[in-house]
């Protein structure tokens, strides 16, 4: 399932018939949006797709959209990365993206699953980090420089409520694959931390 073709193809944007000489002028249909318009419609539609498990964030904030580009055949190719390979939200997100793009009238499109380079929490946008924190989830730390860092040295995570860094990890895993459970020793509130990966 490296590439998922969307079923709703707009015939007006189908590849030109090979029998037509290349020099022949392509008839202009005024109802078809321009390439620039389609790209901006697509980005706007994608930014309206919420993460099903953290609705405060949209999938562009999360850095899941790797590219939106126009192919030679007129198809809009949208690259989508999973956060974690086993995350059940991945399927939901894919379907939401298909629906959002269809509703936005961007014309023919295809979704491509992009595994490499692998998604990292570092791709969350600054806006996304702010939204996450105000939602009560501590945003991810910057990626650790070395494996030793990851294995041994958990840098202190700031409490999203009182900003104290006197916090402890209760569990490396939380309610979704992307989060861990922490507790603040200052305000005593438990909170979730978006894992750095």
């Amino acid at each position: 399932m490296s590439s998922v073709r969307a079923e709703s193809r707009d015939p007006a944007l189908a590849p030109a018939d090979a029998s037509v000489p290349p020099a022949a002028p392509v008839p202009v249909d005024a109802s078809v949006p321009t390439a620039q318009k389609r790209l901006s419609l697509a980005w706007r539609a994608l930014a309206a797709v919420e993460d099903p498990e953290i609705p405060a964030l949209n999938i562009v904030d999360l850095g899941l959209i790797r590219f939106v580009r126009l192919q030679c055949d007129g198809t809009l190719d949208v690259g989508l990365s999973p956060t974690y390979v086993g995350c059940p939200a991945t399927e939901v997100i894919r379907r939401s993206v298909e629906r959002a793009l269809s509703n936005a009238g961007v014309g023919a499109f295809a979704l491509t699953q992009v595994l490499s380079p692998a998604w990292t929490s570092d791709w969350m946008t600054p806006d996304g980090r702010r939204k996450l924190e105000s939602y009560g989830i501590a945003p991810p730390d910057r990626p650790a420089a070395s494996m030793r860092d990851v294995l041994r040295n958990a840098r202190p995570v700031g409490c999203p409520r009182c900003r104290s860094t006197d916090t402890e990890c209760i569990s490396e895993f939380g309610s979704t694959p992307c989060k861990a459970l922490h507790r603040c020793r200052t305000c005593l509130e438990p909170f979730e931390y978006f894992k750095c990966i």
């Binding site: 974690y84 390979v85 086993g86 995350c87 595994l115 209760i170 490396e172 895993f173």
Partner: protein, 257 residues
Amino acid sequence: MTSPVRADTPALFRYVLRLGDLSLVLGQRLGEWVGHAPALEEELGLANVALDLVGQARLLLTYAGEVEGRGRGEDEIAFLREHGDYLNAILAEQPNGDFGQTIVRQVLVDAFQLELYRSMTTSTDERLAAIAAKSVKEVLYHLRYSSGWLVRLGDGTEESHARVQSALDTLWPYTVELFAEDELDRTMADRGVAPRLSDVHTAWLRHIDEILAEATLQRPEDRPYSWYGKRGQHSEHLGYILAEMQHLQRTYPGARW
């Protein structure tokens, strides 16, 4: 009985099955803890690791189906193969035992997958390189969890120390198979698809020794072994795992979510 895994089956197909089956079987094993773990946090932890492993297995088995070219998808490969067609190393199918034994098994496999996938990110097979790049990040987190627990248990009470040492003694012999290079491993390494297992072994041992030292545990000696899960010769445990895992698909063929 369908037996697609013969000596003349394409090497790449068999190799990808080895990787995918290791993740699938271990993921299924870890799933058995749901509802039984010693604490809610650990249940979440083990279930999350299981989920990542099943996610890896989905990518790998989908790819295996494409390599095979007979139109089999991930579900058909996972749920409709027989015992002898599974090519996971048998460490993955060993029983959970107590929490300590599960943690020992996890450390041994996590460190193996970490080094295997890390080298495989530069594989000549682009699809495997991409899957490895994605998986290695998750596996690193698994090792952080499992090694953290092994240190706590090993360097904990007399009881916890004795239990994890005994689990290590029980499971250690099964690690030898992970690094026993056979013709298939050699072919894959020659083609640049997979790393040399001897290199993976060296790096693995470095992690293991470091973790065991901190956990105040003794590394057992390697012993010769007489099983070969990587070629489909399994312990009796796999049959029970498959019976549970495949029950639904075999009772209601083609059932979907």
